[in-house]
């Protein structure tokens, strides 16, 4: 199979989908699913293939290179698979909405451009795909109208800011080294001055940081994730922001190379440490802000930022365990976060767009499969043992502790405990508690929604018990980067400094669980009662009156909320306002009085002459 064919299918599929939709909705749906399935399958076929080809030279003499190795394969497959699931999820979700052709076509375009990003082997084509991804994402975020419009605006402005800055970096690299192909570029920076490397890192980091929603570049993410259509939110949160992670890995490990990166700066002021600290801030602040949210998707959005912080922390810390943890967490986060967005999306779909946590509740009886998906999803998010999130976080913590960075570890761990709070709030307020009467008639989610939910839930458990599979891939990526490989077996990691073996834990939990269940089973049977049949000190619980899921963590929220204003957002907004004010001020020079205009002309002339006569500048 050829890489160009893969890209051609991806982009061609996106285009054709739009026109197919004009013919028949059904054909288009099938075609879209087929295309994304094909992408996933073809991408998977490149496992352990390592190839590289120049496919286009017509662009300003930059050779466009496509390459695949384990690193890009890993990302490409994740993208294709998550993309496939969200397309499937979309089938019902989007059906009754307007402009569906546009939706599918953009969705496929986003996926295609992401695959293009990870497969491209030089920075120019990387940038081109990057930008295509940016604007198609912008169009999709705005798709929901209403508040989505300002969300999309925020996103695209930040994204464009980031990418133009990156462009400077790319061009600067090109001018210094006369090539932008990774393979030729890598290692060339060994001899560069550390100031220059720092300059490059900062430039690229702004771009990747915006996409990856690193604090303080995160402000676009909460509105964008919460206002986008839910299937796209899962793509957005699951993989799209991880393209930023891909970029960071690319920058640190391929272009700059890890040994150069680790030697930048000294001690607490070293670049790796600073980025790690930024990662930790990215974990902590958004975690607590997520606690305060009442909108399910906004909560998940903040959570996404926080989880991205773990990834950055892991990658920037730079030991082979932490990098493995970071990359594994990328993979896990893609799974469980897209799952959670799908869960919220399913609820939203059935309740006609309600995602306010205070007005939902008790849906477990109505949507059991969705609930299980949500439960497993939050377990993964928290990192409960036997889910995939556990292993990746464990790797990060372990290496932080053992390398004497306890404060980073503390912040990361604290973030996890915050995660418990908000993720329980999410599941409790949606599915547990009392079922409001208006939701009595809700049906369970349709099959096209349940299918991805079920598969992704299974994947969480599967990779939680057998972390060795992805870790093996990650290990070979790392050895490709010239890092010390981990000792990995299929159940976990065995090393001198710390061992984890999911099989033992799994067996233990399973056996003990069965034992307890047996005890439970053999003891006297219990009768099942309804939700209003509650103990209420002698009276009955009045219907629809008590919904204690409102303001779930009120005491804590009252305590911390004054400190958690998103002042970065305020800062950007005031920046935007001041730019607008400046513009409004400046345009007053065009007074409308032509007398002024001619004076400008003569003034310009006189000024130039005056300067020349007096100072002879020119």
């Amino acid at each position: 199979m050829n890489l160009i064919i893969l890209l051609a299918i991806a982009f061609g599929g996106a285009l054709i989908t739009y026109f197919l939709g004009k013919i028949s909705q059904k054909i288009r749906d099938i075609f879209a699913v087929f295309i994304s399935l094909a992408l996933a399958v073809i991408a998977a076929c490149f496992y352990n293939v390592s190839s590289r080809e120049i496919y286009y030279t017509g662009f300003l003499d930059f050779p466009f290179v496509l390459r695949v190795n384990t690193f890009s394969w890993f990302f490409a497959v994740t993208i294709a698979v998550i993309g496939l699931f969200s397309i499937i999820f979309s089938l019902n979700y989007i059906r009754k909405r307007g402009n569906t052709d546009f939706y599918y076509s953009m969705m496929l375009l986003v996926i295609a451009s992401m695959i293009g990003i990870v497969l491209s082997g030089d920075l120019v084509s990387f940038y081109i795909f990057w930008e295509i991804m940016s604007w198609s994402t912008f169009l999709l975020i705005s798709y929901n109208r209403g508040p989505a419009i300002s969300a999309g605006m925020k996103y695209i402005i930040m994204s464009v800011t980031g990418s133009v800055v990156m462009l400077v970096g790319i061009v600067s690299l090109y001018l210094h080294y006369d090539t932008l192909v990774y393979t030729e570029l890598s290692g060339l920076l060994n001899n560069a001055s550390s100031g220059y490397i720092l300059f490059i890192i900062i430039l690229f980091f702004i771009a990747f940081g915006v996409k990856n929603a690193i604090w303080p570049l995160h402000v676009w993410l909460p509105p964008a994730h919460s206002e986008a259509p839910s299937p796209f939110s899962s793509v957005l949160s699951g993989i799209l922001i991880k393209i930023g992670t891909y970029g960071i890995i690319l920058l640190i490990f391929v272009i700059i190379q890890i040994n150069v990166f680790l030697n930048l700066g000294e001690g607490i002021l070293s670049v790796r440490y600073i980025i790690s600290i930024i990662g930790v801030i990215t974990i902590l602040i958004p975690t607590f802000i997520a606690l305060l949210q009442d909108d399910a998707k906004r909560l998940l959005a903040w959570s996404t930022i926080a989880q991205a912080g773990y990834i950055i922390l892991g990658i920037a810390y730079g030991t082979s365990e932490s990098v493995a943890g970071g990359m594994f967490h990328f993979f896990n986060h893609a799974i469980f976060k897209s799952l959670l967005f799908m869960v919220v999306g399913a609820v939203e779909y059935r309740t006609n767009g309600v995602r306010d946590l205070n007005s939902l509740g008790g849906l477990i009886k109505k949507m059991p499969v969705t609930f299980i998906g949500g439960l497993i999803g939050i377990c993964g998010l928290i990192g409960v043992p036997l889910t995939n999130g556990f292993v990746s976080k464990w790797l990060i913590y372990k290496t932080l502790i053992l390398n004497n960075s306890p404060f980073l570890a503390f912040a990361a761990l604290l973030g996890t405990w915050g995660t418990i709070l908000y993720s329980y709030k999410l599941i409790h307020n949606m599915f547990l508690g009392q079922l409001p009467e208006k939701y009595e008639k809700i049906k369970k989610a349709p099959f096209s929604m349940q299918l991805p939910i079920v598969i992704l839930s299974l994947a969480i458990i599967f990779f939680g018990i057998i972390p060795g599979l992805p870790l093996h891939v990650i290990n070979s990526i790392e050895s490709g980067f010239g890092m010390e490989p981990l000792t990995i077996n299929i159940w976990g990691i065995a090393s001198d400094t710390g061992t984890i073996n999911m099989l033992n834990i799994f067996t233990a939990v399973l056996v003990i669980g069965i034992m307890v269940w047996l005890i439970f089973k053999v003891s006297k049977k219990s009768t099942v009662i309804g939700q209003y049949d509650n103990y209420a000190a002698g009276t009955t619980v009045p219907k629809d009156k008590y919904n204690y899921s409102v303001n779930f963590y009120d005491p804590l929220c009252r305590m911390i909320s004054p400190y958690l204003k998103d002042f970065i957002d305020d800062f950007y907004m005031s920046l935007a306002r001041s730019i607008k004010n400046t513009g409004n001020g400046i345009r007053r020079i065009y007074t409308g009085d032509v007398g002024h205009y001619v004076i400008y002309i003569i003034l310009f002339l006189a000024l130039l002459i005056f300067i020349q006569i007096n100072w002879e500048l020119w």
């Binding site: 300003l60 513009g583 032509v594 020119w618």
Partner: protein, 491 residues
């Protein structure tokens, strides 16, 4: 043997005979610009390969320069003629249905004259002849701005005329001063005599030229006419004004600065001026509610960007600047055409009146979106290579000033993005308030064809910039190698 002079003469002749066709049938008139510009397109494309090898020189009336007037069809000249012919051709198709007012005849004549004037400016090798053609361009654009004859358009035209006439006077003064000193009007001859601009006597004409052409090129602070004029002209004319007229002004300015004076010392100043123009244009555009005013201010910004790139005066810089020029010509024309039709249907120039247009006119809105993305510089559209080349050119200089300026430019790009994306969102993602005319309507073919062709160019060149970069590189070397130019004209 194709002679570049035909590029000027044939459209001129056709412009003269438009009234005659008017006698036969009123319907034929509108096809005259179409035919003329089609002819120009063919001729200039046929000239292309020849010009790339070596500039074509034509002396009028058989008198060798500096005694007669000569035309220099170098790569840059032919590049411009192709652009003018192409955009003019497409806009003339657009005008089939767009211009429905009475006095169509006059519109078409003036339109043709405008483009002929522009062609003359880029081809001529004589400074006074350049001035004459420049006046043709200006006078027809004054009239065309006033074409609708309503309150705003007359007001804008008056303001435009006053400033433009002042600019012309300055140019003429400059010509007089130059002629007084060197006794010749041929640009190559003049250039051969001018060694440096340091002395006041040469500097003053230079500044007069810069100011005079700067008015037409809309460089800050000489650009106050532009937002008014571009926003109140008919959209087809706005497209040509924005896409061609100001670029031709910029061409004249750059030609004068580079070739005539070889004034490399003033380039840094022009560069700063470019950045200031860019920032001011974008900031003002950011605050506009009127779509055409917004586009007009955006044109100011783009001109600033081009000026910046051209003033870098390296091969990279000029190539980048010219690429940006091409991309702006195509993109901005497309934007004005698409916006024009939407304004025509919605009856208001307010951005909010565009809400829901994505549903009402899908193709036009799509074209507008692509044009907007291209202007902002998003791949895979034509704006991106231009931006890339400019950044490359600026960073290539390896100087702090350039790096700082490039960040300002990129800031401006972001601002530009902000207001364009706002319109795109209005097109697609805001519901129309008055729901009665939700009906979907397809624009007539004469509107769609030019829009589609422009869109096609934007995408194709965006993906395959090599299509034009070769020409641009040789254009850049033409501009940079002053000595070659002089030698080729005056052996």
């Amino acid at each position: 043997m194709v002679n570049p002079v035909l590029l000027i003469v044939i459209p001129l002749g056709l412009a003269f005979v438009v009234p005659f066709f008017g006698f036969i049938s009123k319907k034929i008139e509108k096809f005259i610009p179409f035919v003329a510009l089609f002819f120009n397109l063919i001729v200039s494309l046929r000239l292309f390969p020849r010009v790339l090898e070596q500039p074509v020189h034509v002396s009028i009336g058989g008198f060798v320069p500096p005694f007669g007037i000569n035309l220099v069809a170098g790569p840059i000249g032919i590049l411009f003629t192709v652009l003018i012919a192409l955009v003019g051709f497409l806009v003339s198709i657009y005008a089939f249905d767009y211009i429905k007012e009475k006095d169509q005849e006059k519109y078409h004549i003036l339109y043709l004259l405008l483009l002929t004037g522009a062609t003359g400016v880029v081809l001529t090798g004589d400074i006074f002849n350049l001035f004459v053609f420049f006046e043709i361009l200006c006078i027809s654009s004054y009239s065309l701005v006033a074409y609708f004859g309503d309150k705003t358009s007359i007001e804008s035209a008056v303001k435009y005329l006053i400033q433009g006439a002042l600019g012309s006077c300055l140019i003429l003064m400059g010509i007089g001063l130059l002629y007084g000193q060197f006794g010749t009007l041929n640009m190559a001859d003049l250039a051969g005599n001018i060694k440096s601009v340091h002395s006041v006597s040469i500097f003053v004409p230079l500044v007069l030229f810069i100011t005079g052409f700067g008015v037409e090129a809309a460089i800050f602070p000489l650009n106050a006419w532009l937002p008014d004029a571009h926003s109140s002209a008919p959209s087809s004319i706005s497209a040509v004004l924005s896409g061609i007229a100001i670029e031709v002004g910029l061409y004249a300015m750059i030609r004068v600065v580079f070739t005539l004076f070889g004034a490399s010392s003033i380039l840094t100043f022009l560069m700063l001026l470019g950045v200031i123009t860019l920032l001011i244009g974008e900031l003002c555009a950011f605050c506009q509610e009127n779509i055409k005013r917004m586009l007009a201010y955006s044109s100011i910004g783009q001109i600033g960007l081009m000026l910046f790139a051209l003033s870098i005066a390296s091969s990279y810089g000029i190539t980048g600047g010219l690429f940006q020029l091409v991309s702006h010509t195509l993109g901005k024309s497309l934007l004005f055409l698409a916006a024009g039709y939407m304004i025509y249907r919605s009856g208001s120039m307010n951005i909010s009146s565009f809400e829901g247009m994505g549903k009402r006119m899908p193709y036009t809105a799509l074209a507008f979106t692509i044009g907007a993305f291209s202007i902002v510089g998003l791949p895979p559209f034509i704006g991106f290579p231009g931006k890339l080349m400019i950044v490359k050119a600026a960073l290539f200089e390896q100087e702090m000033l350039y790096t700082v300026l490039i960040f300002f430019i990129l800031l401006a790009t972001v601002i530009e993005g902000a207001y364009y994306f706002r319109v795109v969102q209005a097109l697609y993602f805001k519901e129309e308030k008055n729901t009665q005319n939700q009906k979907r309507e397809i624009a007539p073919l004469s509107i769609l064809i030019p829009i589609f062709i422009l869109t096609g160019f934007i995408v194709v060149i965006g993906i395959y910039p090599k299509l034009i970069t070769d020409v641009l590189v040789s254009s850049a070397s033409e501009l940079l190698n002053r000595a070659d130019y002089i030698k080729s004209v005056m052996p």
